[in-house]
Symmetry: C2
Subunit: 458 residues, 2 copies
């Protein structure tokens, strides 16, 4: 049950009673829950709520809205209100938000922001240049950076100050920088608290720092965080200059988002921007239809192949009735292989250079599975009340299944690696795509085998 349904009539009543009443009603509600309400209201009611909230609370709510809602609300609010909220939004979210606005609106809001907080505005202009799905796009510039000679006690005092003014995304790491903001080391808050207050940062810092560069893709960032168990990683440029910081809470969102995108690509859909119910018919038809049309044209080849074998097919329908069984079985085996390889590449476990090992492995797996399923196919065909010689028919079906399953396993594994090797997204070789390729191959194998076996004299 959505909160807004639950609160429905009460909420409507409060909305008409003005800002004061609204502010009082929302005082104790978690920002996440206000966001859920705002998401379900129409834009004008939602804007009323946003105006009633203090700017910092409004910012917490905005951060939790889906991107189309954020844009709608920031556009409905005046430039000044929007700028006031933007100042309070986390820097990394702020940039994403400004990036979502259309060009005109972006300039208006940035101008209003410039007037209020020139430094913030400049920082946004700088960060807007990074792609949102990279470390540069995910990072915040609000971090604790101090010189190597800072005494522990002073460092703690500085953390207090920054935290008090809400100018640090995380206070759990202090980054030690030297000349030209070059990153020298890192000190955790834990180390700070445990150290003697008169020591300096350079005495207790860890010099081997795992770092990111701005162009690192978010998937790599997530894998690094999971691998090294850090709650934040610094971003540096090619000269080792500290640019910003990516925190683990942003990474959880990223991992969930990536998993959704990957699942949709695997299912043959152009990834959606929003949730299922928030996506409209036109977008669905476009994002599903474009792939379906491509796959349809691929599938047209099956009709062409079958027409080429019309003599064989016209002789008896005994062969025809096993067509769906054979091509679908191949498609299933191929889908399994492509799923395993695509996921393995995403996790960094498999690289296109491993192709020899992969092909060797898939051939042995494919042969085992093929023989197993071929035996079942032989039995089924043998029991068929057929016009053709039972052994020849069953033999054709069984041999075809072995060949198709093995071939499909190899194709399903090699195709994603080839795509990756040439710089394409391997997820293009989605389950339906592999199935289509395998359908065409499967028909050719089956008709080839059947022609050979039926002409065989024995």
């Amino acid at each position: 049950m959505r909160l807004s349904t639950l609160l429905g009539p009460d909420l409507k009543a409060v909305l008409t009673r003005g800002e004061e009443a609204l502010r009082a009603a929302l005082e104790d509600v978690h920002a996440e829950d206000i966001a859920e309400i705002v998401e379900d209201l129409d834009v004008s009611d939602a804007t009323l709520i946003m105006r009633a909230l203090p700017a910092d609370r409004a910012a917490d709510v905005v951060e939790r809205l889906p991107s189309d809602r954020q844009v709608a609300i920031l556009s409905a609010l005046g430039d000044v209100d929007a700028a006031e909220i933007l100042v309070e939004v986390d820097p990394d979210d702020r940039v994403d938000l400004v990036q979502e606005l259309d060009e005109d609106r972006r300039q208006e809001v940035l101008a209003a922001l410039e007037e209020r907080e020139p430094e913030v505005a400049e920082e946004v202009r700088e960060l807007v240049g990074y792609h949102p799905e990279t470390a540069g796009g995910l990072m915040t510039t609000e971090l604790v950076r101090l010189g190597p000679d800072t005494v522990i006690a002073d460092a703690i005092a500085e953390i207090r100050r920054l935290s008090d003014e809400d100018q640090a995304e995380t206070i759990y790491y202090v980054y030690v920088v030297g000349y030209g903001d070059r990153l020298l080391g890192v000190v955790s808050l834990r180390d700070l608290i445990l150290a003697r207050p008169d020591h300096t940062l350079s005495e207790i810092m860890t010099e081997k720092v795992v770092t990111l560069i701005p162009s690192d893709h978010q998937e790599r960032v997530a894998n690094m965080m999971a691998r090294y168990d850090f709650t934040a990683l610094p971003v540096v440029d090619e000269h080792g200059v500290l640019l910003g910081l990516v925190t683990v809470d942003d990474v959880v969102d990223v991992v969930i988002e990536e998993a959704t995108e990957d699942a949709q690509k695997q299912g043959g859909i152009v990834p959606l921007e929003d949730s299922y119910f928030a996506t409209n018919l036109r977008e669905f038809v476009w994002k599903r239809g474009s792939w379906l049309v491509v796959l349809f044209f691929g599938q047209l080849l099956t009709a062409t192949v079958m027409r080429r074998y019309d003599d064989l097919l016209a002789r008896t329908i005994d062969l025809v009735i096993f067509i769906p069984l054979i091509i679908a079985t191949g498609g299933n085996a191929g889908s399994q292989s492509s799923t395993l390889i695509i996921r393995g590449m995403t996790l960094g476990e498999i690289s296109p250079r491993d192709w020899v090992r992969v092909v060797a492995k898939e051939i042995s797996i494919g042969l085992c599975l093929g023989v197993l399923l071929g035996a079942l196919g032989f039995l089924r065909a043998f029991l068929e009340d057929a016009e053709l010689d039972a052994v020849r028919l069953s033999g054709s079906v069984a041999i075809s299944i072995v060949a198709v399953v093995t071939l499909a396993s190899v194709v399903g594994s090699v195709l994603p690696m080839v795509l990756r090797r040439f710089g394409f997204d391997p997820a293009v070789s989605s389950t339906p795509f592999i199935a289509s390729v395998v359908d065409v191959m499967g028909l050719m194998v089956y008709f080839g085998v059947a022609t050979f076996v039926l002409h065989l004299a024995f």
Copy 2:
């Protein structure tokens, strides 16, 4: 390139030079990188390395190994060595590890642990009862818990002590507990540092705490963390008694692991325990073969359906050549729908109670896509040099595509919801499974439509 390949000959040389040399060589290497080396060596060499490391470093390495490796190494080490490492392993990882050991070995190691650290051993025995994929299985019991009347200065001193003795998984939250360990509130380290030292915890604590219960599934835990942007969440029992704490770094691992499992289920594979290359042929044949056999039996129905329509099929192969095209197009549309619904349910965006809205949406999407693809099918069939009347053939193909695509969209969306509703894992309705169901339906629709259209007088 794997580190072990890079270091290969050097490593072998060092391994023969004894513990001292090994320890010196590994001193500056990150635990993650040692883990990579240990993963690639055979068990006896790996055990040499583990013995050479101090227990706390060995524990860091063990935490990073895949589970089969962990078990192999803990079994190869003596009970006492194993217990010594276990003491240093993070409590939540420790329980997972003990859970992986076989029953006999588990009792031996726990006995050795009991002798060294009776409290730790008892805690493990307690936590082993929770399923590893729940909040109970993920949680650690090493957290900072203090009474409400504790003065800030004392709280900070206590955090120092616990952190110094490595007895807190996170020091970023202090949990305030009352009588019987009931959770009263939470104070972040940030709040502590900012507060006046003579205040008490009860004065600054947040009383509205978002909590987990031990049986919460890890997917829910991950969604809660992403939603509320916390770096740790407390676990309480039904009476509000604080049991433990789940930290965000464990959740990142969990989200990646879940995404892998989901992808494999969607591809029609029983999820693998290990990485692609670490999985052997027998396991692959079993985990892929079991689904392929089930799907194969389902696909046998296609042969049965086709045999029932052999009169129709024997008349001309014009109808036959469009069979793969029609059933594959249906399968693709159905796969898209099931992918969207399964992912939506995983994220909590769609619930089985939404079925009316989903079906309405899928009917309209399916009709749009069906008409689009049906038009293409009409053109292709019309251009075919067919024995049948071109309009009748093309009409049969087009109408069938519209019907099959719409039906497939509905079935692909409803089936996962029905499975979830009756307590099954919706991922059982994998892409290949939906395709198989749709193949059988598609044939029946196509032959039904063709029979009707071809007999139609016009």
